[in-house]
């Protein structure tokens, strides 16, 4: 799962809520003058990007390109990991053994996606512990969608259908990202993500054939998640100053607003088949544009959540930190065991040689 709200900077500049072009420009330090060799390398890099070529870990790349990727890939990884929490909440409460097995498999996939992405980020020279430390200290961001609660069983279905649906829209263009390891991780993730969306939608279809109360649960969950999902695509293009650079570097391929439009157009017929109403009175087909028009997204609420004031920010981070700390002895024990085994083997080899 992923959101392009990752165009936002990590802390400490959380105080400047909605970034505008002027404040972002003011924050940028003046770049150092490049040496002659760097100018040549930069030209080579630009030519490769212009030719739609790929960049691999040990190739020369501009510092800003590396930093942007580390930030984006690690935030993406954090989102997969934190994303396990809202759904994990329902594993012990799934309505049947079948749904429980499906949900466990899905949550395990999210862990896997996080691991693919952490590995991709590590090829850029950051360490796993550095990234985890940034998450645990609240310095790094993750997708704001996971800072909302999962109140009923239909939430699990809606997360699969809408949240993973939005994530797929975002992630498919990333399979063509200019940075090789990130693109390869995304191909792997996208292959698995389709299961996530389909299982969610199917779970909702079943509920919609149930009692009036079950149908109401689905509608309630859709009402609560719809606008958050639209916000997942990140700020409107006009307020997304990093997008231009991301496009130039071949990291971003499709703009936030275009992806959001694609998502709305794809979801409207699915909602109709499911028999739910998307909670937007302004949502209607525009014959001229050949797209659906939709209403205003509450960006103040979005930024408040990104900046730590959503309903579950503290709970999510608290759960992550607790899991990490509680697992410390396991990580230590595994390493101690490995060291002991290696020592024994070395002694054995020595004896055999003697």
């Amino acid at each position: 799962m992923y959101t392009q709200s990752f165009n936002v900077q990590d802390a400490p500049d959380t105080s400047s809520a909605a970034p505008n072009a002027a404040s972002m420009a003011a924050l940028k330090s003046v770049p150092k003058a490049l040496t002659e060799a760097e100018v040549a390398l930069q030209a080579q890099f630009d030519a490769r990007i212009d030719a739609d070529g790929k960049v691999e870990p040990r190739d020369w790349m501009p510092d800003a390109y590396r930093k942007t990727l580390v930030r984006q890939i690690s935030q993406h990884a954090h989102s997969e990991i934190v994303g396990m929490l809202p759904e994990g909440n329902w594993i012990s409460r799934a309505p049947s053994l079948k749904r429980k097995a499906i949900l466990i498999a899905k949550v395990q996939d999210e862990a896997g996606h996080g691991l693919y992405l952490y590995s991709a980020a590590e090829t850029l020279g950051t360490s796993r512990d550095q990234m985890l430390d940034a998450l645990h200290t609240g310095k790094a961001k993750y997708s704001s969608i996971f800072n909302y609660p999962t109140l009923n069983w239909a939430d699990v279905g809606v997360i699969g259908w809408l949240v993973d649906g939005a994530a797929i829209m975002n992630q498919i263009p990333l399979c063509r990202c200019s940075y090789g390891p990130y693109a390869r991780a995304m191909i792997r993730v996208c292959k698995e993500e389709s299961f996530h969306q389909r299982q969610g939608y199917e779970a909702l279809l079943v509920m919609m054939q149930g009692t009036a109360e079950q149908k109401a649960m689905v509608q309630d969950a859709v009402n609560r998640w719809w606008w958050k999902c639209l916000a997942m695509f990140g700020p409107p293009d006009a307020d997304s100053p990093n997008s231009v650079q991301g496009m130039r570097w071949g990291i971003k391929r499709i703009s936030n607003d275009d992806l959001r439009q694609k998502f709305v157009d794809a979801t409207v017929p699915q909602a109709k088949i499911l028999g739910v109403t998307l909670p937007d009175p302004d949502l209607k087909w525009n014959e001229e544009r050949q797209h659906h028009d939709y209403g205003q997204i509450d960006w103040d609420e979005f930024w408040a959540t990104v900046n730590g004031n959503g309903p579950c920010n503290k709970e999510r981070l608290g759960a992550r930190v607790k899991a990490w700390n509680d697992g410390q002895w396991v990580r230590d024990a595994a390493l101690a065991h490995a060291n002991k085994q290696a020592e024994r083997q070395a002694q054995k080899n020595l004896k055999e040689a003697a």
């Binding site: 693919y116 590590e122 360490s127 512990d129 085994q341």
Partner: protein
């Protein structure tokens, strides 16, 4: 665990990095598919199974500690690989064969 035990440097605490190679089916080669952290080789194999073969993507896995891999330098690409580009006679298309000979 006591507090002073947890203050050792994080670098020493991180499990080493392993590269994972998976044979997707009998008859095909092992192919690099990613990396992971694990305490030792057995642990790495188990982790690789869980991380990279959840949907029968593999019938065999190799893991090798990343630090054991020697790699060519991207900067030396021209000198390292270039010499072969002027040896066009190594390619079948270098040779012109009369068309009546047919496929060769």
């Amino acid at each position: 665990m006591s507090a002073d035990q947890t203050t050792s440097s994080p670098a020493l605490k991180e499990w080493p990095l392993w590269e994972v190679f998976v044979r997707s089916k009998q008859g095909l080669e092992h192919k690099h598919c990613g990396s992971l952290h694990a305490s030792d080789s057995q642990h790495a194999l188990q982790m690789a199974r869980d991380v990279y073969t959840r949907r029968q993507e593999g019938v065999s896995i190799w893991v090798v500690q990343s630090s054991s891999i020697a790699a060519s330098e991207p900067n030396d690409k021209s000198e390292f690989f270039e010499p072969s580009s002027d040896k066009v006679y190594r390619h079948p298309t270098f040779y012109e064969i009369p068309s009546e000979v047919g496929h060769m």
